[in-house]
């Protein structure tokens, strides 16, 4: 057990907005053994990336490596000059960044970029490097390993690009690989493939790695040891099994608790079903692009039916590009649907904002995903919250001021915040303001677009808690959009699964954990990392080769959108006929050729389906 990396007393300083010197990493001391995977975990601002970069002797602009030692494979990284560091970077220490899309040069072929570091360090001739790269592509389970290098970065998917970046880092056989949130920007169904590829490569090569992440469940699959960070200080350093099962530090325990938010029982049970629903959507479709002259039109939403009862919370989940945000935007009137009807209390709403009355606008409020851009940076919080009060309710002067303070109190912010600008608040505080602005209108329905996605787990859990509480107090309905099934599960009464713009499944929360599932929902649910070691190995592997074969005849129109990835597809049925919508006895519906009984049989038990690790 020789130590490859030894960090002792590392201190990093930076200047803040007020030009004060602040220490962002305090006396970090840890070591990584040869062949070990160490995870650095913490929320944003905990200094995890800063420490990872310090392992390369690098500090981001404005930061300074102020003290301590970093020893990597016998090199004192903090004592070396730029030239000596350049000789080590990419060769002794390699780095895999969070956004592969931003790390590749879009104007050069992938192969040129993958072999670049081997050529720069003069390790091998070009032909040998390319042969090695193809080998790595194969190990990373990339499709068509012999030719994928000839493509440009925009011609491969995000998950593939992330794996190509791993190939780029591993081409020089570095002693240490740093992975900085490599799967954070990916959909869960893609993340699982990338994680599996990383894990396999790391195991086979016996690489030493430092894995930076905020997601404990992901880290549980990858790491041998976990270092928990907070505010630049190491809270706990222990073996993965110990951290997960017997966390010693209270902060680690709070992190673990925030990962699986407790289910909140529906505040208002949907009353008699015969009462008129608050919002009803019938046959909604939305398309982008000019449709004149047979020009290709992008179908974003297709044939969506939705009922939102008063006081209920509807969750909408799906991967990026599935049309979740567009659905919310059509309801809010920001995007005009191309077909279908939206009924508010049984009354048809105009497709665009121009046709809606102020009262209709007031009753449906939209909470944008990113509070950084959703709040006008030049308006004070009081003005941001006061405007809807004045606009919808005609409040002025002292009345308005009092109501603003009430709203701040409602979202648990101090009154002093009213004077500030959005730029002076933290991410979680901004998201609370974002929510408070919607509440100011006293709406009947709040459309929440990924409101917790940009926030840390603990902060996000607090926002969810707040939303559930407000629902009980104010009897509003939510439509809650997310790509994270855990979030949706914790707050929603009913869940709608979108895939490629189609509503493939709707189900009640109570029925969420039990089959039958639509094959896509099943894939989605079983792809969410579970906080248990060995979970990754237990998940069924799906590659195009393992799917049931289809006759090569081109798909007929309106067949199932999930056809290409479905493990349960049936040749001659799924690729010829549009799938029927089946009503299930648990109150949900599924868009699939398979009946409930068949699906139930195929999908028990959930998650722990035995499969071979590729």
């Amino acid at each position: 057990m020789n130590e490859l990396v030894k960090v002792s007393g590392l201190r990093v300083t930076a200047r803040n907005d007020l030009d004060e010197l602040v220490t962002i990493v305090h006396d970090a001391t840890f070591s990584v053994n040869q062949g070990e995977v160490l995870a650095l975990i913490g929320e944003s601002g905990s200094g995890k990336s800063t420490i990872a970069l310090a392992l390369m002797g690098y500090a981001r602009a404005g930061c300074r490596l102020a003290g301590g030692t970093v020893d990597v494979a016998g090199h004192q990284m903090l004592a070396l000059g730029e030239r000596q560091l350049a000789a080590l970077r990419g060769r002794t220490v390699a780095y895999i960044a969070q956004s592969a899309a931003a790390s590749f040069n879009p104007s050069r072929r992938i192969m040129d970029q993958v072999v670049e570091s081997a050529l720069i360090h003069g390790l091998m001739p070009r032909a040998a490097a390319e042969a090695k790269a193809v080998n790595l592509f194969r190990e990373l389970a990339l499709p068509d390993p012999a030719h994928i290098g000839q493509r440009y970065p925009h011609q491969v998917s995000g998950g593939q690009l992330q794996r190509l970046m791993a190939a780029m880092a591993l081409i020089t056989d570095p002693d240490l690989v740093i992975l900085d949130e490599p799967t954070t920007a990916l959909d869960v169904t893609t993340q699982i493939d990338v994680l599996r590829a990383f894990k396999k490569v790391v195991q086979e090569r016996g690489s030493t790695a430092v894995y930076v992440s905020h997601d404990l469940a992901v880290v549980a699959q990858m790491a041998d040891r976990i270092v928990v960070l907070r505010h630049g200080e190491i809270q706990e350093n222990g073996a993965t099994a110990q951290i997960l099962s017997a966390p010693a530090h209270p902060y680690t325990r709070s992190l673990l608790a925030a990962i699986a938010p407790a289910a909140r029982p529906a505040g208002v049970q949907v009353k008699a079903p015969q009462t008129r629903p608050l919002l009803e959507v019938r046959g909604l479709a939305a398309r982008y692009g000019a449709g004149k002259g047979g020009a290709p039109v992008k179908r974003v939403l297709e044939d969506i039916d939705l009922v939102i009862p008063r006081g209920a919370t509807i969750g909408v989940i799906g991967e990026s590009g599935s049309g979740k945000t567009t659905l919310a935007r059509t309801l809010a009137g920001i995007v005009a649907p191309s077909q279908g009807q939206i009924l508010l209390d049984g009354e048809a709403l105009a497709p665009t904002l121009e046709g809606r009355t102020r009262e209709q606008c007031r009753r449906i409020q939209f909470v944008f995903q990113n509070a950084d851009t959703a709040l006008n940076p030049r308006h004070s919080i009081e003005r941001i919250l006061g405007r809807p009060l004045e606009f919808y309710h005609g409040m002025k002067g002292d009345v308005r001021r009092r109501r603003v303070l009430q709203l701040l109190d409602l979202v648990k912010l101090p009154a002093a915040v009213a004077e500030r600008l959005p730029g002076e608040l933290s991410g979680g505080q901004k998201q609370r303001i974002n929510l408070a602005r919607a509440l100011a209108a006293q709406p009947d329905l709040i459309l929440c677009d990924e409101v917790t996605s940009a926030l840390d787990t603990v902060v996000g859990a607090a926002i969810l808690e707040l939303m559930a509480e407000l629902r009980r107090e104010l009897n509003v309905s939510y439509m809650f959009i997310s790509h994270d099934i855990n979030t949706v599960r914790s707050i929603c009464d009913e869940i709608v699964v979108l895939y490629a713009g189609r509503k493939v499944e709707a189900r009640r929360r109570e029925a969420l954990a039990a089959p039958p599932f639509h094959p896509y929902s099943h894939l989605l649910i079983s792809s969410v990392p579970v906080l248990r070691r060995g979970w990754l190995e237990g998940v069924e592997v799906r590659t195009p080769a393992t799917l049931p074969p289809l006759a090569s005849a081109g798909p007929a129109p309106d067949t199932c959108p999930f056809l290409d990835r479905c493990a349960l597809r049936v040749d001659g049925v799924c690729n010829r006929l549009p799938p029927p919508r089946r009503e299930l006895d648990n109150g949900g519906s599924i868009l699939c050729h398979h009946g409930a009984a068949t699906l139930r049989e195929l999908q028990t038990p959930l998650g722990v389906i035995e499969g071979e690790v590729a």
Partner: protein, 286 residues
């Protein structure tokens, strides 16, 4: 390499006190502009001599007690000439830049907000106008309508409007895509509130910077026109005309050439410093 000495732990630098970023340049610029605006208003009354009072003996006289800034090619007091020229240079240029910037920004906001055919038509008309050199346009207008202050203000204002429109429109299109603008639209706000309360404050900084630059160009164009004899007509003179009138004094080392040039320089630099200071002022942590 394993024997290399670890770097010494550097003691934390003494904590610098957080200082308010009070822009000295901005304050100085504002003072200069304030001074010239005051002179534009009061100059003609403060001037010691009349426009026409000549003294044949004092042609290109150097700086003296009688002529604090020297005398010009007809022996007129340069201080009085500058003070009497201030309303033309400051006033005409300021009026013209206001026409150009306010007109251009307003049109741009409206075009961006309306979109569709209105945006296309306005943008194409502006593109056509951009292809006509401003100086040429000004020459044609002055030739057609004669030289008077209203003609100058309108001609120059309209001549510089397309540039202001282009910059403001590109800013408006970017700001319009921001979620807070969409949030206001979803709230059901009217066009006027969205443009003036949500969009304009976030475009103000670059628009003001453009305003300062445009003011500078206009002072130069006005001076150029006067230099050609097409601007302000004698015996009145703006600062550009003063430079032209006295250009022969350059070989004699007369202050009459350099003093109006300095006046032009201080005004344009002052305006830009003031705007940079104003637009760059930040609130804590913003």
């Amino acid at each position: 390499m394993t024997t290399s000495v670890p770097p010494p732990i550097v003691p934390a630098q003494a904590r610098r006190k957080p200082h308010r970023r009070l822009s000295i340049a901005g304050t100085a610029g504002a003072a200069v502009v304030g001074f010239w605006v005051l002179m534009a208003a009061l100059g003609p009354w403060l001037a010691p001599d009349d426009v026409g009072s000549m003294n044949g003996d004092a042609v290109f006289a150097p700086i003296s007690a009688q002529y604090p800034l020297g005398a010009d090619f007809l022996g007129r007091d340069m201080l009085s000439r500058i003070l009497q020229g201030a309303p033309y240079t400051v006033g005409v240029a300021l009026a013209a830049v206001l026409v150009a910037s306010i007109g251009g920004t307003a049109l741009a906001l409206f075009a961006a907000a309306r979109g569709g055919w209105f945006d296309s038509v306005v943008s194409r008309i502006v593109d056509i106008q951009l292809s006509i050199p401003t100086k040429l346009l000004a020459l044609i207008m002055v030739a057609a309508f004669g030289s008077s202050v209203p003609v100058l203000v309108l001609t120059i204002g309209i001549g510089y409007l397309p540039g202001a429109f282009r910059i403001a429109r590109s800013l408006a299109v970017n700001v319009q895509a921001m979620e807070y603008v969409q949030a206001a639209r979803a709230r059901g706000e009217g066009l006027a509130y969205i443009t003036f309360h949500e969009m304009l404050p976030n475009m103000l900084r670059p628009v003001l910077a453009d305003f300062g630059l445009r003011f500078l160009f206009i002072v130069l164009l006005l001076s150029g026109l006067s230099f050609l004899g097409l601007g302000v007509q004698p015996p009145d003179a703006d600062w550009g005309s003063l430079v032209r009138e006295n250009i022969i004094g350059l070989s004699e080392g007369s202050p009459a050439v350099i003093v109006p040039a300095i006046a032009i320089a201080t005004l344009t630099i002052g305006v830009n410093m003031a705007i940079d200071g104003f637009a760059g002022r930040k609130r804590r942590g913003a």
